[in-house]
């Protein structure tokens, strides 16, 4: 996303691609988060581990928000409508 932007279409395409990549990353992040929450609920993690995982996920979450801001992607853009299956990520 550097260099002079003259071609509107390729710019739009670049943005779409960024949004798609961020969507996939966000999906993985949310899956990891769910998995972590499940593990915590099972109670087989030590306090240190929980803290470590929580901090990592929190930092990832923050990084994700920064990336979205940098690329002008709104959080609600990070989703795909899968028709009858609903949306890729839970809404709200």
């Amino acid at each position: 996303m550097t260099g002079p932007r003259v071609d509107l279409d390729s710019e739009q395409m670049g943005r779409d691609l960024v949004a798609l990549v961020l969507t996939v990353v966000e999906l993985l992040r949310q899956l990891m988060e769910r998995q972590a929450i499940r593990r915590v609920e099972q109670g087989d993690l030590s306090d240190e581990q929980v803290e470590e995982i929580g901090t990592t996920l929190m930092l990832l979450d923050r990084r994700m928000k920064e990336l979205c801001e940098q690329h002008g992607v709104r959080p609600e853009d990070l989703n795909l409508d899968l028709g009858p299956l609903g949306t890729l990520l839970p809404r709200n």
């Binding site: 988060e33 769910r34 972590a36 929450i37 915590v40 609920e41 306090d47 929980v50 803290e51 470590e52 995982i53 929580g54 901090t55 990592t56 996920l57 929190m58 930092l59 979450d61 923050r62 409508d81 028709g83 009858p84 609903g86 949306t87 839970p90 809404r91 709200n92």
Partner: protein, 276 residues
């Protein structure tokens, strides 16, 4: 959009005409007195007219075959304004006929090579048409859409990171983050379950009133740009003498469940005429 066999008219010559069938009703005295000359019909077609065949009467229009070839129709299907024009024209004819008695609306773009073919279809499927006409007589269709009750505003602590977490690695911040996410996830699950419960109970109550019902696919937000979560999309066939109860029941259900319920109707019972 299924189209009967005769709809493939691509091979016809450019200025050939075909018979477009809007709807089928009974051949009663009221039907034969039906004045359809004032109904516009489809763009480019001749006048809308009645095509009686025994105990059934079709409401038809002669249209240019070239307007309904597969390619033209495919192109039309992907043009929302254009398809809306055709759907509205179709619906206007069906509605005009429905004011005079029971009617079985046919799918958009039901075409026959000529009047004889259309007549023979009426004869072949007379039983099914009569069954459908009997089912929808003195009934109307009502559409009901339920949207998830508005989520209670999460408390201030729910989503905003507490101040000590802002620095990043404050002790306990990781645990706090996970707990916050856990809470949010549990809330979401609960809302989802509540919404499905609401949808089921609304559907159950309305089914009690209806002669028949159908649940359709709920639609995503994308098409309408609507941000609400659609949890029930259903349609009910209700006897005319109970029509006044529908609005009352929907209002009562909305109050009881807190959900947004949208009611539309009465419609010509498109959804309840079966595969005719």
């Amino acid at each position: 959009m299924t189209q009967p066999s005769d709809s493939r008219v691509a091979s016809s010559s450019a200025n050939a005409a075909v018979t477009y069938v809007f709807a089928v009703c009974r051949s009663t005295r009221a039907t034969s007195a039906l004045d359809v000359t004032g109904v516009a019909g489809l763009p480019g077609g001749e006048a809308v007219r009645l095509l009686p065949s025994g105990l059934l009467t079709a409401v038809v229009q002669t249209v240019p075959a070239a307007d309904f070839t597969d390619e033209v129709w495919q192109r039309r299907l992907s043009d929302r304004e254009e398809i809306e024009r055709y759907a509205r024209a179709h619906h206007a004819v069906v509605s005009a006929v429905a004011t005079h008695g029971p009617v079985v609306p046919l799918p958009l773009a039901t075409l026959y090579h000529d009047d004889d073919r259309a007549r023979s279809r009426l004869a072949d499927e007379a039983d099914r048409f009569h069954t459908a006409l009997k089912r929808v007589a003195h009934h109307a269709e009502w559409g009901v859409k339920v949207y998830r009750p508005l989520a209670p505003e999460p408390g201030p602590a729910a989503d905003a990171p507490p101040p000590e977490a802002a620095g990043g690695r404050a002790p306990g911040a990781g645990l706090a983050y996970l707990n916050r996410k856990r809470g949010a996830q549990a809330r979401r699950e609960k809302l989802r379950e509540q919404a499905l419960d609401v949808a089921d109970s609304v559907d159950a109550e309305l089914r009690g009133l209806a002669a028949a019902s159908r649940r359709l696919r709920t639609h995503g937000a994308a098409l309408s740009g609507d941000q609400r979560v659609h949890v029930l999309n259903a349609t009910y066939l209700v006897a005319d003498e109970r029509a006044h109860e529908v609005g009352r029941l929907v209002a009562a259900l909305g109050e009881r469940t807190g959900a947004q319920i949208e009611l539309s109707g009465p419609w010509v019972p498109y959804s309840f005429v079966g595969e005719v």
